[in-house]
Amino acid sequence: MIVRIQGPCRAMMVSSSFRRLCLSRHQANSDPESKNQTDPGSFDDFVDTLKASTATKHQTFAEMFRHSKFAQLGDFDGRMVTGKIVHRVADDLYIDVGLKFNAVCKAPAQDGDDYTVGSRVLLRLHAYELSERFLGSKKDLTLLEADATLVRLCDSRRGSIKATKQLQKIRLRGAGPLFRFPKQQLAKLQQIQ
């Protein structure tokens, strides 16, 4: 969700799989009589080996953490991350960036309605947690939220606000026999929800 795997970690993954592949190929060549060994000649097999190595291998927590996106982020200030809007209260957007806390940002005045719950946004992260040591206190005071600036919308779930409001109206009035609502429209709204 945050950043793609890049740099030394990816190189490490590639090199270990490549080494394994070269070894198996060497074994196949050195023993021409063994026909049960499959020839890993094609590029597709090589790509598959890359994918398989990270998923199936049992990792300790230390290994998981070392190769995590959190560790790769490094210093949080200035990093561009993508997040998903999980809650909206009027203008305030609560965005899940994949860290401990959600970032809270204001929806822009222009096209603010496009920033609906479930949309993906691009943010510039500043802090993992807004905690500061105040004069006289032994421990930091925490605001329980991450600090980020909204950059732009990546992928909007348009029409969701309208659909939510319409569904809320239906629920308030009750789905009794007196209330007539076209079945097709209702199904469509429920699908979007």
């Binding site: 990792q59 300790t60 927590f61 230390a62 998981m64 953490f65 995590s68 959190f70 560790a71 490094g74 210093d75 949080f76 994949g98 860290l99 401990k100 806390f101 993992y128 947690e129 905690s131 500061e132 040591r133 421990k139 930091d140 005071l141 925490t142 329980l144």
Partner: protein, 274 residues
Amino acid sequence: MQKLPHYLIRGQLGARLFSTTRLLGAVGKTRIDQQTVKEAPVRSIPGPDLLEKGTVHPEILRKYSSEELQVDDHFKLEPLLDIREMFEARLHYGHKVGTLNDNMKWALYGERLGVCVFDLELTKQYLLRALNFVAHVASRGGIILFVTTNRETMINVEQTATKLGEYAHCRRWQSGTLTNSAELVGTPIRLPDTIIFLSTITSLGDPHPAIKEAAKMAIPTVGVVDSNADPAYLTYLIPANDDTVQSVNYLLRLFNEAIVRGKSLRQKAKNRDF
């Protein structure tokens, strides 16, 4: 057979005897991965000197406990705990170092750029112990109370508790709910047998008043302690993230499974007796 002192017998209609599970709940050094040899439990109550020693070394009381308590992971909850899943549920995220409680340093893997990180190997061990305890309580017909003050996870906690047929208290805690229950609720009243704290800190940043009240009433507690929380007075600790919704949901699923297994064991025993 020695007579138990009256203050150890829970006073109510159909008095519940003081169960030895509470004794084993004391902070001990028993390692969950060392499976003990299944010995036949001794059918007598230990003397007061042994009980006193047992508060520090609970292992010596093991042979006096019932059969189900002879094994550490009686409900076989270990396969349910996967470190990869915990990692993806963000259980390892702690607060910043500035908010770190010194009594939580033991649970951390370390600190990276000011952020505390929990050691999930330790979390798994403690979580397994806590889940087994909760399952045992449920299998004995115990009342379990879920407590949290985190606004985002409040509703999930209440729903989980209700579905299980257990209880939840996620609103303002009235001082004296447990210690002064006679006045606030009335008598006779059956208090919860276990309290599970999904978050030990209130929205004001103070430790939850129910922790000390439970300790005063000798009610064992299970608490999810974050890096800024105080682990004092809690019986079973689970050092993990308590602020993220995904983390709490993961823990709730596990508690749900543990309680379901405990209750099904109780049901099987009832059916067998008939």
